[in-house]
Amino acid sequence: MKKLIISVLTALILVAVMAAPAVAVEDTQTATATVDVNQVISITIGDAGSAGINFVGGTPPISEQGDTDQLDGTPAVTITIENETNTEVDVGIMGTIFQGSLALSNWLYSTDFAKTGLAGLTGAYVEVYSDKGPPGGTPIVLDFYHWVTIPDGTATGTHKVTVSYKAKETSGTY
């Protein structure tokens, strides 16, 4: 009987030891790491054929004559939002008379060869493309087709306009 009791006791002790919960002892602490990444906006300009936007011109009146190098699918000017751009942007256009007297309203642009949204240049930036990018590895190419209208009575000679293209953060101003 004594032997039996000792055996039972030993078994019980073993069970108790084995059943004791395993306590994972450790300690964990945390810290927050923060970086504020600065904004980068980068665009490059591409130009079909001869440098600049070139029109043949001729005897007035001439209506909506296209850049000599542009074709359907080949815009006079392309604006590329480059990969380093890290925020969504809008792209606008404006003109400044550089030579001659041809009013800005005669210098026209559109986003396709079919003249969708055809409009005259203005002296302040007008948004043409909105909410573009960021590129995320693939540059974004934006098309600009250019046209000119030469009304009756336009002075003979060379007329020039400087055309500016600007990309800004979507929430920003030109």
Partner: protein, 167 residues
């Protein structure tokens, strides 16, 4: 016969109950003294790990307040810790899209053994540390070109376990 059975049962109960009570009383209760592991964090400025404003295309820019001998984060093994411990680190992106591989740490300002944070589980950085030992963590950030502008954050976790135990 029925009576005999009942009597036998009663007799067994009379014998068994004291025996059971005796067994319960006599079984020794094991006593466990858990190991104590405790760590504390400190950082200069107490603003977490702060890299400030960084331009895309920058590599291994340090925490703004760390300097040679002044780590971004110090993990101290608290005095009450009564076993040797290993200290590990891991990260969790909590905002933005800057991958963990760009969030780095080293044990010294010279960036010896600089390494990127990884997700769970923790990776051991210091081993066999004891009470009052100080473990330095310098932190660095790489911002690849094209990284989205704005704030990016990571929660950095430092964990102490008994030396040799898994994280």
């Amino acid at each position: 016969m029925k009576k005999a059975c009942l009597l036998t049962l009663a007799a067994l109960l009379v014998v068994a109950m004291p025996l059971a009570a005796w067994l319960v009383v006599e079984v020794p209760q094991p006593v466990y003294a858990d190991d104590i592991i405790s760590i504390t964090l400190s950082d200069p400025g107490s603003d977490g790990i702060d890299f400030g404003e960084v331009d895309p295309g920058s590599e291994n820019v340090g925490d703004v307040l760390q300097d040679d001998g002044v780590p971004a984060v110090t993990v101290t093994v608290a005095p009450e810790t009564d076993v040797a411990v290993d200290i590990g680190i891991m990260g969790t992106v909590t905002s933005g899209d800057l991958e963990l591989s760009n969030w780095k740490y080293s044990q010294d300002f010279e960036k010896t053994t600089i390494a990127s944070l990884t997700g769970s589980p923790h990776v051991a950085v210091y081993t066999n540390k004891v009470a009052n030992d100080i473990c330095a963590f310098y932190h660095w950030i790489t911002v690849p070109a094209g990284t989205t502008a704005g704030e990016h954050t990571v929660q950095v976790s430092y964990k102490a376990v008994k030396t040799g135990d898994p994280f």
